[in-house]
Structures are given as structure tokens and as C-alpha cells.
């Protein structure tokens, strides 16, 4: 069980937990929390995939000279992706919060199962 | 082909013979029927009297063109049928206008008169007329069925639609008649024959005695006379067709008269014996008895 696998499985478990929360709680705010957890899990998985055992962060300096860089740093791409993913996730979360607020303001409830005026 | 005018007098002669024959025969047959019913019956010249009386009746009214033309159609149908079919086999003289069409013509010309009369009666505006027409058509169309199939069977059997050839094929001993070469077809045809003759048990359409119904009741005087004339020609014409198709035709007038009489007798006898059918009953009768027999006949060939 390498560090990488631990991280990755933790990520997956987080995703599942998050989804479970989001799917079982009726309260929109709780659902949002659930999705945030799941999102975090996803990011963890991303990082874990990019990780190479016993290597340094991809920032060049005295410790990590350019010449040996390719042998000493972890894969920088997933880290870049994660950053983007985080920001996007944050955007969506904010948006959902706004919606949740508005729904509460107009319908007086945060119960997702009550928002079924559109169906069939 | 150019037309030789002598045919016209010949045709008229045929017509004359058949008409008189018809008048007498129907009278005699009626008398026999009456005797069978323990009645005295009409005088044998009764039909002449009726005919003349009606032709010379004074009171004359009409309901309109179609009403006026109805009987004309009717009689034309009868005469036409008679003249489109060769009456006496093998004689150019008595084959009249059969050059203008074959078996199929005869088959379909039957409807000409029916249609016309029905239309005429229809215009009279009397409900009974329409009632009679509707019944009549229902029954006739059903009765036509076995007949049509039988006719087709014969045509198939002799591989021709030409009367003369059909009769020719039946010459030489009565065993060559279709009656014996294809009994089923003939049986079917005879069943149809009963229906077409409109005698009991299939006479609810005209119902001569009890209820005044059907076209004849709408007509009087000359109209009725025309129709009576037809009633004496048309059956004979039909019989001629039968004769030619199933009973070896007629080589001479005497032969013709005997065969015609016997054929007519058949329907008369049945009529005497059986009670009357309602229309749907007779339709079923033709469909259940006539058609299957006809089909057997058709497959027999």
C-alpha cells in the first residue's frame, strides 16, 4: 500500500462519502456540502495520480536544479489541473449557494424534494 | 362488319314466339300450382286478357322521367338478354344479335333491366317500392353468386366464353351435357335459378298475393303491361342461357319448348312445396348451400 494508493483511495472514499451525503440529505445546503467534500476527494485523486514516489515539488531552485529536474520532480501537470479544478468547483459552489438562497427566499424551503413542480 | 338487315325481322319473330310461349306456359304452370293447392286456377288464356287489358287502360299518371322510363329499361333488359343469346343452336337465323357479345355480356346484361326498374320505382316515392328494391337487390345479388361461379366453371370447362362453342361441346348424346359432366356446377346454378325466378320460397321480394310491395305495385296500365310482357320474356331468356350452358342447348324449337317447360317446372314445383324465406334467410341459404356447391364444381373441373 504505497502512499500514492492511500491518497488515491482516500480521494475515492471522500467522493463516495460526499455523493452519499448529497444523495440522501434533502436539505440543499447539506447537499452542497456533500458535493464540496466529493470535489475535494476528486482533487485529491488528481494530485495522487500525478505523484511520483520520493520526488520534489516542481519548483526549480537551488535544491532542484534545472539539469536534474526531470529526474527529481513530480508530474507538474495534475497540479496545474487541480488548481483549475478547484477554482471551477468554487465557482459552482458559490453559484449553488446563490440559488439555494434564492429558492429559500421565493419558496420558503430548502427541501430539494419539494422542488418537483416540473416533472413528467 | 356490315349489318344484314334481315336479322331484325328474325329477331322480331323470335320475340313473338317466345312471348306467346311464355304467356301460355306461365299460365299452365300457374294452373298446375293451383291444382296442387286444390284450387281451380286461372284460365290458360288469362295472361292474354290481363296484358291486353293493361295495354288499353285509360287512367295514366307518372311520377317523373325515371318513373316513366323504368318499365322501358325493364323490358329492354329482358328483350336484350333474349336477343344477345343464340336461341336455337346451329341456326344463323335464330342466333339473333349474339355476335355483339358473349357469355359475359349475357351475365351482366341481366342487371340492366333490374337497375332501370328499381330506379323507376324509386322515383315513385313510395316506401314500399324502395323496400322491395332493397330486398330484391339483396336477394338477387346473393343468388347471382352461385350462378356466376357456375358460369365461370363452364367457361373454364370448355375453355371458351362463346355460347355456340359451349353448346357445340355438349352435342352428341345427353351424357355430354354439363349436367352430367359437371353436376355440381349445375346444381349450384339451379339453386341460383330458384332465386332468380323469384318464385316461392324466394318470392318475398315480389310477394304477389298478400302485401302490395315492390315495383309492380307502383305501376299500372301500360307500365304494368310492359312489365308483364317482360315477366313472360325474361324468365324464358334466362332459361335459354341455362339451356345453352348446362343442358346442351336446343337444336330446334320443339326441343327448346320442352326443355324450357321442364326447367320452368322445376322452380314451380319447389315453389309449391316450400314455404317462404325471409330475405336474410334466403341470402344465407345461397351463401351456405349455393356457394360451396359451386366451389366444388369449380374445383371439379
Amino acid at each position: 500500500m504505497t502512499l500514492q494508493n492511500i491518497a488515491m483511495s482516500t480521494g475515492f472514499i471522500l467522493i463516495l462519502i460526499g455523493l452519499y451525503g448529497a444523495m440522501t440529505h434533502k436539505n440543499i445546503l447539506r447537499m452542497i456540502v456533500g458535493f464540496t467534500i466529493a470535489g475535494t476527494g476528486t482533487n485529491l485523486v488528481l494530485i495522487a495520480v500525478g505523484y511520483l514516489p520520493g520526488r520534489a515539488a516542481p519548483i526549480l531552485n537551488a535544491a532542484v536544479p534545472i539539469e536534474t529536474a526531470s529526474a527529481t520532480i513530480v508530474d507538474p501537470v495534475p497540479q496545474a489541473l487541480v488548481l483549475t479544478a478547484i477554482v471551477i468547483g468554487l465557482g459552482v459552489t458559490a453559484l449553488m449557494l446563490a440559488f439555494a438562497y434564492k429558492i429559500h427566499a421565493t419558496k420558503g424551503t430548502l427541501d430539494i424534494s419539494k422542488l418537483t413542480d416540473l416533472k413528467w | 362488319m356490315e349489318f344484314d338487315w334481315i336479322k331484325i325481322p328474325y329477331a322480331l319473330l323470335t320475340l313473338f314466339i317466345v312471348l306467346n310461349y311464355g304467356l301460355l306456359m306461365t299460365a299452365i304452370i300457374q294452373k298446375m300450382g293451383a291444382r296442387a293447392g286444390r284450387r281451380y286456377g286461372i284460365r290458360f288464356y288469362q295472361n292474354y286478357i290481363d296484358l291486353i287489358k293493361n295495354y288499353s287502360m285509360r287512367s295514366k299518371i307518372t311520377h317523373g322521367y325515371m318513373f316513366y322510363l323504368g318499365p322501358v329499361f325493364r323490358l329492354t333488359g329482358g328483350i336484350g338478354l333474349l336477343l344477345f343469346v343464340p336461341t336455337i343452336y346451329g341456326s344463323e337465323m335464330w342466333s339473333n344479335f349474339s355476335f355483339s357479345g358473349d357469355l359475359i355480356l349475357a351475365l351482366y346484361f341481366v342487371f340492366f333491366g333490374t337497375l332501370g326498374m328499381a330506379l323507376g320505382a324509386g322515383e315513385s316515392g313510395h316506401p314500399f317500392a324502395a323496400l322491395g328494391v332493397s330486398r330484391g337487390l339483396s336477394q338477387v345479388t346473393a343468388a347471382e353468386l352461385p350462378f356466376a361461379i357456375a358460369v365461370f366453371t363452364v367457361a373454364l370447362q370448355y375453355q371458351t366464353l362463346n355460347f355456340n362453342e359451349i353448346v357445340a361441346a355438349q352435342q352428341g348424346g345427353f351424357l355430354n351435357w354439363t349436367l352430367f359432366t359437371n353436376p355440381f356446377a349445375v346444381a349450384a346454378a339451379m339453386i341460383a335459378f330458384l332465386g332468380m325466378m323469384m318464385r316461392s320460397p324466394f318470392d318475398v321480394v315480389v310477394a304477389p298475393q298478400e302485401i302490395p310491395i315492390g315495383p309492380p305495385t307502383e305501376y299500372h296500365s301500360a307500365y304494368l303491361a310492359l312489365m308483364q310482357t317482360n315477366r313472360n320474356i325474361f324468365p324464358i331468356a334466362k332459361i335459354v342461357v341455362y339451356m345453352n350452358l348446362f343442358f346442351g342447348g336446343a337444336g330446334s324449337w320443339p326441343e327448346f319448348m320442352i326443355k324450357a317447360f321442364l326447367l320452368y317446372l322445376v322452380s314451380a314445383l319447389v315453389g309449391v312445396v316450400f314455404p317462404r324465406f325471409r330475405v336474410e334467410q334466403s341470402i344465407r341459404f345461397f351463401l351456405i348451400w349455393g356457394v360451396p356447391v359451386a366451389i366444388i364444381g369449380l374445383l371439379w373441373v
Binding site: 504505497t2 488515491m8 452519499y20 511520483l52 516542481p58 459552482v92 446563490a98 427566499a105 419558496k107 420558503g108 | -
Partner: protein, 233 residues
């Protein structure tokens, strides 16, 4: 309860897929082609010490542009949602807690420092960990602190919107410059790469990161303000 059951079963299935991935996963021992390229070419091509930054700002600059747009978009929509135009039912009565002395004084002390730190973070994005987004977030946290200290405080929407848009426009403009002056859209070599490791190096990266920082800060702030203002109706 059926709901929990269904959820459980479905997640079991998803879990199975993940497990499948996990078991099938084999960590590669050295960098793959593209990572290799970044490791070796980053400095020569972009002059940035922080490879991740180089990737974010330059190689995958288009993603980042999209990223910034996401925030811009979110800010816009949040404002849209909370603008009272929608068919409004009843409103919740906001309840105010007194914020307290400590927080207010602390705020006054901290806000400038936080702001400064934020600026530092995004200006040094190409050398050290961090960058525009992190910096922007820190900036915004200063705003948040101020809001916490005084919920009734208002910020000038106009200025925020201005900062958002102008920095955004500049970002796009720099991208086009790259198209015009250098190798392509968002190429950072429109400015001299400078000497490796110094503050003013890595071409346009610091500039872009500054813009991003400002923009992100502004957008977060606008989101927060619109959320907080929605309290008092």
C-alpha cells in the same frame, strides 16, 4: 429508507468502478512525455522557476483564461440571481449578532497586512508556490474580514466591476499581443524573459498573474458582497 438503499447500491457500483481503476492503476516510475518536456523546457521557454505556474499561465493559458471567466461568470450570475427581479416570495428576517470589540480592532490591524501578503503571493507566482488565484483569494479574505467586522459595510460595486472587467480585458489583450508579437495566443514572450529567478523575469507571467490576482480578488469580493447584501432586504 429505500432512498438510502438505492443510494447505497448505486454508490456500491461507482465504488466498484473506482476500485477497478485503483487496482488497474500502476504508478509510472518516471515522467511521461509531456511532463518531461515541461521539466526540461520550462526555463528556456518561459523563464519561470515555478513549473506549475508556467503551465498554468502559459502552456495551458487557455484553461486559465477559462478559469478566470468561470469566476467572472459566477460573479455575474450570483448578482443576477440575487437581484430582486425574480418572482419574490417572502423574505427571511436577518438576525444580527453584535460583532464585538476584539474582531473590529483585529480587523483594522490585519486587513492591510493580509492585502499586502496577497499582493506578494501573486507577484511572486512564477518563483514560489502560489500565484494569481491564491493571491486573489487572500485579497478577498481581507474583504471578508471587513464584512465580518461590519456586516452593514458596503463596497462600491462600480469599482469592483471596473477592476474585474479592466483586468479581464487586459488579460485577453495580452493574449492577443502574444498572437501579434510572439509565438501565439497567450505566449508570455512578448516581454523579455529576464534572468532566471529574479522578480522581473518570465516575460508576461508576473503581469498576467497580477491581473488574475486583481480579477480574482474583485470577483470573490463581488460574490461575497452580493451574498451579504442579500441579507438586508
Amino acid at each position: 429508507m429505500t432512498k438510502h438503499m438505492i443510494t447505497f447500491l448505486l454508490l456500491l457500483g461507482i465504488g466498484a468502478i473506482f476500485a477497478d481503476l485503483l487496482t488497474g492503476f500502476s504508478a509510472d516510475q518516471n515522467l511521461n512525455a509531456s511532463a518531461e518536456f515541461y521539466a526540461t523546457h520550462t526555463v528556456s521557454d518561459t523563464g519561470a522557476a515555478n513549473i506549475v505556474t508556467a503551465i498554468i499561465v502559459t502552456f495551458r493559458g487557455l484553461d486559465t483564461l477559462g478559469e478566470v471567466t468561470v469566476l467572472f461568470l459566477t460573479a455575474a450570475i450570483v448578482a443576477l440571481v440575487l437581484s430582486g427581479d425574480m418572482a419574490g416570495g417572502f423574505q427571511v428576517k436577518p438576525r444580527r449578532w453584535p460583532v464585538g470589540e476584539l474582531l473590529e480592532t483585529g480587523t483594522r490591524l490585519l486587513v492591510p497586512l493580509i492585502a499586502l501578503f496577497g499582493a506578494y503571493v501573486f507577484i511572486n507566482g512564477h518563483l514560489t508556490p502560489g500565484g494569481g488565484f491564491q493571491g486573489g483569494a487572500i485579497l478577498a479574505s481581507a474583504m471578508l474580514l471587513m464584512l465580518l467586522a461590519d456586516p452593514t459595510r458596503r463596497f462600491a460595486h462600480k469599482t469592483i466591476a471596473r477592476i474585474e472587467s479592466v483586468s479581464g480585458l487586459f488579460y485577453v489583450f495580452i493574449g492577443v499581443l502574444g498572437l501579434a508579437l510572439a509565438g501565439g495566443f497567450l505566449d508570455n514572450r512578448i516581454l523579455p524573459l529576464g534572468d532566471f529567478g529574479s522578480l522581473l523575469s518570465a516575460g508576461a507571467i508576473p503581469l498576467i498573474y497580477v491581473l488574475i490576482g486583481l480579477k480574482v480578488g474583485a470577483e470573490f469580493s463581488s460574490i461575497m458582497t452580493s451574498l451579504s447584501e442579500s441579507e438586508d432586504v
